[in-house]
């Protein structure tokens, strides 16, 4: 059995609160390291109902439902609960479609007593659209303005992937196990295609439950740096942008509410996204040799990633403001002009 690192734990229990929203945003988020917040949603009626029985949970949700369809995934028993690629990577191993939430929840309860069953999952539903009113009764002091997304399913695995946003994910029903890898482990995770992915973001090709070390020898290094935690109803985890996470739902009925902010899934997401810019750089540099890529890496380190620890070396600190252009603060008009410039370039 793998020995994972543990994640620092805080709590917002009514009795022993160890973290406030202000502390979280001022002290935790800037560090971009994961933390666990126990009892984050302890007072939500949704969590209380889930702690009773799956039927109570389903009944509680049902009262907000307006009949809208939302996205569902179904993986056959052969997929071994893993929402992933098929064997030869020509497609994914599950089906997806739009379905009514009440039918989905009914199916979920139906499968509770089966011995052999598919993994089913409702992913990332916008709560205000599907269940208006739900967040009025289940609101969170940390994210008063942010619409959370709801994920519901039976036992299932989402393979290690990252999000281009900061994320607080709160278990509201069942138990969930998270295994996290820091961004520096990207190179040891064998991340797959950027352009065809099971979950919208690049996914590690290694099956964490049964790693094929012959094919993926470097994965050992990633495991040595991995963190793990199991969350129960009401517990939350902060997953910083680009931290790889493998998520396992452990019960017959599991649900999670999550908040994405900053970056590509946040409310102020910018276009092009960072992943778009990576794709465009891949396009631009397609003919470069390895040594030439290394040279461009130095340029990106300087202008894009600001890698030098000496802040005096960052372009903004020594280029006068009136010549910073794209390196400085950009107005909405600047952004539009720059985009138009690149559109013209791409049209060539």
């Amino acid at each position: 059995m793998m020995v994972y690192k543990s994640i620092p734990e805080y709590s917002t229990n009514s009795k022993t609160s160890t973290i406030s929203a202000a502390q979280f945003f001022e002290q935790i988020v800037p560090k971009q390291k994961p933390i666990v917040i126990r009892g984050f949603a302890e007072s939500w009626p949704l969590v209380t109902s889930a702690k009773k029985t799956p039927s109570d949970f389903v009944a509680y949700l049902g009262q907000f439902y307006t009949g809208k369809k939302t996205k569902m995934l179904v993986a056959p028993p052969a997929a071994n609960k893993r929402f992933f690629y098929n064997d030869d990577m020509t497609d994914v191993n599950y089906l997806s479609g739009e379905e009514r939430l009440d039918l989905f929840l009914g199916r979920l309860l139906e499968l509770v007593d089966r011995d052999v069953y598919p993994a089913i999952s409702m992913q990332g539903a916008a709560t205000n659209e599907i269940l208006p009113g739900l967040i009025n009764e289940n609101c969170c002091e940390f994210f008063k303005q942010l619409e959370p997304r709801l994920w519901i399913g039976n036992e299932g695995i989402v393979s290690a992937h990252y999000d281009g946003s900061d994320n607080v994910a709160c278990v509201v029903a069942g138990r969930r196990r998270f295994i996290l890898f820091p961004p520096e482990q990207t190179c040891h995770l064998y991340p797959g295609s950027l352009n065809f992915t099971p979950a919208g973001a690049p996914t590690s090709l290694v099956d964490l439950k049964q790693p094929d070390f012959e094919r993926f020898p470097l994965f050992k290094h990633a495991l040595a740096e991995a963190y793990s935690v199991e969350l129960g109803p009401g517990d939350a985890i902060f997953i910083p942008m680009l931290w790889w996470h493998h998520v396992e739902s452990l019960e017959k009925v599991n649900a999670l509410m999550n908040y994405w902010w900053n970056g590509s899934s946040g409310p102020n997401s910018v276009s092009p996204s960072v992943i778009d810019s990576l794709n465009l750089a891949l396009l631009a540099m397609r003919d470069l040799t390895q040594k030439q890529r290394e040279a461009w890496r130095c340029m990106f380190d300087h202008y894009v990633f600001l890698q030098d620890p000496d802040p005096q070396s960052h372009p903004r600190s020594y280029i006068p403001e009136h010549q910073q252009h794209i390196l400085g603060d950009l107005s909405a008009k600047n952004v539009t002009d720059i985009k138009n410039y690149f559109i013209t370039k791409l049209q060539k």
Partner: protein
């Protein structure tokens, strides 16, 4: 004075050896005598007037862009003191008049620095290429640079470069790409030479303002070229170029990369600017995290993604057909229009 490193020197290097063994290493080398059999070099070795006459016999009358920096600019084609403009002006002029001006300056003091930069030879001197060409580059269109004493500040090109002095002496100081941060590279948009330049005056460095430049100097290379000598400057190697005589000229060949005739669009610098745009709201820690992803997929710092992802899912990571490239561009045009 700084102790610069020396650049390996070759004489009579064969083209095949150059492309097979030298270019892949992306380290500079000197090619002594590269253009020794060019009549233009022979003329330049005699006198500036012979050089000028040799060029003029091929001149087709087209105007060229000339840069002129007043004596107060100290021979630099650079920014003005507060970076609101440049230290030089540029204008269109007949090439023969420009050459006459250069030779006329010969005994006058002080004179402005004059320079004609990167003119395509086939545009102004089509016949010149008949007897002054290189078997290294049968398919590259060479460019001509002519001027008196002048300095082009430390900059890089997004392409591989062979630069051959054909008249006068030229001093090159080179910095490897990993010295980028120590060079205080300037604005990306507004530049004296089309590419970012170091803001440090290499001849009179202000170490109070640019303390890290000392480290760059410790890693710098230097060479002086005579007429006929060439230098291979790999892509992204920063170079400071000083023309040392009253009449100097250089012919250069750019291939691979953004100045090459088969250059890709968007070019490398554009793609970097798009990344700057996309990451504008990211904190330093978030940028460090994104760097891990770029390191893996783009800069290939670890195991190559194409080695473990099946070919049919390579997409942007593998060979791209012209049709695929067109569809990718269309996709991003739509994204940018949002």
């Amino acid at each position: 004075m700084s102790n610069f490193k020396a650049i390996p020197e070759y004489r009579n290097l064969a083209a095949k050896q150059f492309f097979d063994e030298v270019v892949p290493e992306q380290q500079p080398i000197v090619l002594r005598g590269f253009g020794d059999d060019w009549p233009l070099v022979a003329a330049a070795k005699k006198s500036p007037n012979e050089f000028s006459a040799n060029l003029c016999q091929h001149y087709n009358g087209n105007k060229v862009t000339i840069c002129a920096a007043p004596p107060s600019a100290d021979k630099r084609f650079f920014y003005n003191h507060d970076l609101t403009g440049f230290s030089f002006v540029s204008a269109q002029e007949r090439f023969d008049l420009f050459l006459r001006r250069l030779t006329d300056f010969d005994n006058k003091q002080p004179s402005p620095a004059l320079s004609m930069q990167s003119a395509l030879i086939e545009d102004i001197l089509p016949g010149l290429l008949e007897n002054n060409s290189s078997d290294f580059f049968p398919n590259v269109k060479p460019r001509l640079w002519v001027g008196n004493e002048g300095v082009v500040d430390t900059h890089y090109d997004g392409t591989d470069n062979i630069a051959c002095a054909v008249a006068g002496r030229r001093r090159f100081i080179l910095f490897p790409p990993d010295q980028t941060s120590n060079l205080y590279p300037g604005p990306l948009e507004f530049t004296p030479a089309g590419v970012p330049v170091s803001l440090v005056n290499l001849r009179k460095p202000d170490f109070d303002r640019y303390p890290r430049f000392r480290s760059a100097l410790e890693n710098a290379y230097c060479v002086e070229l005579e007429p006929g000598d060439a230098l291979f400057i790999p892509m992204l190697w920063w170079h400071h170029v000083e023309s040392l005589n009253k009449v100097n000229a250089l012919i250069n060949f750019w291939w691979n990369g953004s100045f090459a005739e088969d250059a890709t669009s968007p070019n490398f610098l554009d793609s970097m600017k798009i990344a700057i745009l996309a990451m504008r709201d990211m904190t330093p820690k978030q940028r460090a995290a994104w760097r891990c992803l770029f390191d893996h997929y783009l800069f290939k710092q670890g195991v190559d993604p194409a080695s473990y992802i099946p070919k049919h899912q390579h997409h942007m990571l593998g060979e791209m057909s012209p049709q695929y490239i067109a569809s990718v561009k269309d996709y991003f045009i739509k994204k940018l229009q949002k």
